[in-house]
């Protein structure tokens, strides 16, 4: 069965729609749905710039293979979910510090050392 393209600017419901901000509404703007992850970012290996982001205020290059994204809008708790994508096939990520305003992730290579690695993060959780 094939479905066509669904185009809309505002999605309206007969009841309330609860969003991640805790706000309830009877309609949702299409732009709102685009940013449904709580925060996200794509960062180059050297942590010296930010390639793409949402709800990120800054990135701290903490050390070789260690980066700390800081959030514009805090999470409600420090228990939000963090998804990583890494742009090589040797590194693995490790979250060493997680707060409602930032988290530090460390990228560890197969040479048993921290390794600068281009990466993407996607974060999901309730906002403060």
């Amino acid at each position: 069965m094939a479905f066509g393209t669904l185009k809309f600017d505002t999605l309206t419901a007969s009841g309330n729609i609860s969003g991640k901000t805790g706000v309830t509404a009877t309609s949702v703007d299409a732009d709102y749905l685009i940013q449904q992850c709580s925060a996200r970012g794509k960062f180059p290996a050297d942590g010296a710039s930010i390639t793409e982001s949402f709800n990120i205020s800054s990135l701290t290059d903490t050390d070789t293979g260690k980066q700390t994204p800081n959030f514009s809008s805090n999470f409600n708790t420090a228990n939000y979910s963090i998804g990583h994508s890494l742009y090589n096939n040797i590194s693995e990520p490790y979250v060493s510090n997680q707060a409602t305003s930032s988290f530090r992730h460390e990228l560890y290579g197969d040479n048993n050392a921290y390794t600068d690695t281009e990466n993407c993060v996607s974060l999901h959780g309730d906002m403060a």
């Binding site: 942590g47 930010i50 949402f54 809008s73 805090n74 707060a99 305003s101 906002m127």
Partner: protein, 157 residues
């Protein structure tokens, strides 16, 4: 320049959605180098402002006063902290007006760098924090884990 809607009372996250859709990112070559006195075993850290955040700061009417973040940080520092109960401060406090690039960097320092660094940045044997341009940073990262602020660094007025 697009006009910012009246955002006081609107969730900050939703304001960021609006900004993402309506404002062009504003990359800056300003960086903040700092050393944390509670983390002296590690090298100097480099803070890079986010282009979308800079766009919000320069636009005005979106971001809350930086003091709001300090209040939330105080709450989170409590030993029995589980979750924020004063998140409304982010959303209900009157947003700040448009900032210059320099003012935005000062705001970001007070938001994203530990207070123990920026409150006393010029106390001690050498500055704990330096604002610079990207071309003033080392060109390669071969010795990244030994980067430090120079003891004899000359500061501009």
């Amino acid at each position: 320049m697009i006009e910012t809607p009246e955002f006081q009372g609107t969730h900050l996250w939703e304001r960021l959605c609006w900004a993402k859709e309506n404002l062009e990112g504003k990359p800056t070559d300003i960086r903040v180098v700092y050393e944390d006195p509670e983390d002296m075993d590690n090298p100097a850290k480099i803070l890079c402002p986010d282009p979308n955040w800079m766009a919000c700061a320069l636009q005005g009417g979106i971001l809350p006063p930086v003091e709001v973040y300090w209040e939330l940080a105080k709450d989170e520092a409590q030993p029995d902290f589980k979750k924020h109960t004063r998140g409304y401060l982010l959303h209900n406090t009157k947003p700040i007006e448009a900032m210059t690039e320099e003012e935005a960097i000062e705001y970001l320092i007070q938001k994203d760098i530990p207070e123990r660094v920026w409150r006393t940045w010029n106390e001690g044997n050498k500055p704990k924090m330096v604002i610079c341009r990207t071309h003033q940073l080392p060109e390669h990262r071969q010795w990244r884990n030994s980067w430090q602020i120079k003891d004899d660094i000359e500061l501009a007025a």
